[in-house]
Assembly symmetry: C2
Homo-oligomer: 454 residues x 2
Amino acid sequence: MRNILVIGSGKSTSYLIQYFLERAEREDLFLTVGDLNVKNAEKLLNGHPRSKAITLDIFNQESREKAIKASDIVVSMLPARFHIEAAKDCLKLGKPMVTASYVSKEMQALDEEAKSKGLVFMNEIGVDPGIDHMSAMRVIDEIRDKGGNIILFESFCGGLVAPESDNNLWNYKFTWNPRNVVVAGQGGAAKFLQEGTYKYIPYNRLFRRTEFLEIDGYGRFEAYANRDSLKYQSVYGLDDVKTLYRGTMRRVGFSRAWNMFVQLGMTDDSYTIDDSENMSYRDFVNAFLPYSPTDSVELKFRHQLKIDQDDIVWDKLEELDIFSPTKMVGLKRATPAQILQKILMDKWTLDQEDKDMLVMYHKFGYELDGKKHQIDSTMVCIGEDQTYTAMAKTVGLPVAIATLSILNGKITTPGVQIPIRKEVYSPILKELETHNIVFKDKVVPYLGYNSLNI
Amino acid sequence: MRNILVIGSGKSTSYLIQYFLERAEREDLFLTVGDLNVKNAEKLLNGHPRSKAITLDIFNQESREKAIKASDIVVSMLPARFHIEAAKDCLKLGKPMVTASYVSKEMQALDEEAKSKGLVFMNEIGVDPGIDHMSAMRVIDEIRDKGGNIILFESFCGGLVAPESDNNLWNYKFTWNPRNVVVAGQGGAAKFLQEGTYKYIPYNRLFRRTEFLEIDGYGRFEAYANRDSLKYQSVYGLDDVKTLYRGTMRRVGFSRAWNMFVQLGMTDDSYTIDDSENMSYRDFVNAFLPYSPTDSVELKFRHQLKIDQDDIVWDKLEELDIFSPTKMVGLKRATPAQILQKILMDKWTLDQEDKDMLVMYHKFGYELDGKKHQIDSTMVCIGEDQTYTAMAKTVGLPVAIATLSILNGKITTPGVQIPIRKEVYSPILKELETHNIVFKDKVVPYLGYNSLNI
């Protein structure tokens, strides 16, 4: 029997655990799920005979080492900053490891020792990062195999609400950590490459420089630039690419409305408001507007941002009840971002019956035989319910598949790595298709960003 | 003979040195000016028999201690971060000290020991901070002495070009550290109090929420909020004040034009541009605009910021040659802020014949006998030439006067302090008047920010 230890049993682990349990008999697996609180783990394991839930404090060395020692492979589904202690134990105890998180400096530092011990340390094998790497490298390698030269790569991903549950004016609900959505884009200018030129967008322009995307059967989306578009340039072998852009997808119109919060400073996370607890939502909004007691908060808001009386963005604001004088913030010494998050969570939390949706869109431009070509590759995944979400599916399944592949000796190259080699991504993408996570490639005319191309 | 040691002989020391030399005979002073490079010191001392320039490296403990030991009082005119070593020596060797800089945490930590040794450590006694403290506290104390209760305090200061030398469309030239001008307002939201309500302005709105000010004989100005409006609330005894605002003064129209740079991200100092050295000014601007080779940089700029064809802000841009394809940045791996500073220095550097101007504007609102009153107090100082600038005068003279007052036993209260007590500011303000640094008080109707008051 092979022992799999999963550390953490949060929202992203439902499909992961299901995958192992469904194969436990056939593959002779025993699944141990460790968490500080075993409640969710027990619910997900549902008494399966080849499983158990254990209390595990990642900061308690003894309990951590004991659990890792008893396993053949370790999957860490904790927040990224908590992986490193488990990773060091895995090295010491000779266990391979899988995470869905970005490779931290501390993790990268373990590479040499992992290699010398023949251990696979697979990271960034969730959805973003994860499926984005694998699906992009599949097409990039295909283009290269036929002699093409990549000149453009753009990649977009978004966690959204499914069309059947999309019933607010923002066409958006929180499907993942709301905080990341509120502070998205902060901390520095977005940098990317367009037709050989570096371009920079400051935070306050980010949501006004969006790009449209269309997915057959799902309509139009928009995307704003990520800060880190150039992060994988060398890793993907795209040092000579002319256009390189990564972005976050929303439904059309979200960004223009979101920009109102950005402009007024309501997404700021760098300072706290002293008396935030006793503020109404209306007081909160008013803190970002000039003093003028004879003018309404509404008029001051419209005037500051020059919002026409019939502009749809106004209805989006009203839908959030943001001008309510009776709804109270109720958070002590909170930052503007924390307060805004609270206001949004009133309206943007998924209902019990709601389904989420994960969308991904890649554009590949390349030159072959003196001509320019483009392939657009898209994927849409819709969740089943509030436990079996598209987010949990697209994060958890690649992790699960990779874990079993390592156990079964199908992924053997040791070291700290991400899934960009064909022998890794190819079988995983194939298996993901059987779970209905499918990329559709479409040949389109090459456009790029140079309107002279049209 | 009393020995004064001035450390540093930069731009702000001309009037300071002149003040001591003019009184050297009468007051029996000997002035030693220490700097890494004695050239400017020698020029300013001009062979005066009661003076000498010495080479002094603030980081060389031996030379520093030797110079301080030989002095009766030490004036540090170095950048604020360099004071602390000299201050510690002063404590050890029992010498009083004067600086024009904000009290750092390290400086504040010396308070107790300075008190126990009976040493005056006077700080923030330049212009801003300095004259602002003294001139504000004079009126605040006057109002309190007659039983008034302060309900509003606003304070504005600006270093500008004198009207007779004001010959560009921005009505602005650099009269102090250009870098501080380019990055002004960055690093967090501006926070202030208006009619009892905390207000916050994020960086990207800072230059669009200005206030107008008028000074008799000098026309209109505008001001944008400082980050630290509440810094001296308790120090000034204004804990119950309803409105508290500090701002930076510019000529009307500056901020609206400056906002273009802010909006496009051209003032960002948080990242470097790889190939900045070989960029033209035009390339630099283009880095913040979408890619579109069939459209001109000019049209993209106008479109992004919605600038009408006849808007004066456009002429302000053209005056800077910012669209030049031939003028080169020539700075290696520079930040956008560094590049913008270079472009601006081409046009905003004071000419040999130019004069600078220092303006200060306080508003005091108070209640007395059930009525609301307001006093506006203004000061304008115009420089003589490029050495004897208004900036050097308003920074250097209060430092010099305070230094002599300490030497002469007129300021005796020991400890790390700023000039907010009447026995300190009163004689200094009186003497500044003899140097034509004069505040004009004007009784005006109380307006505050509540339009119901009108």
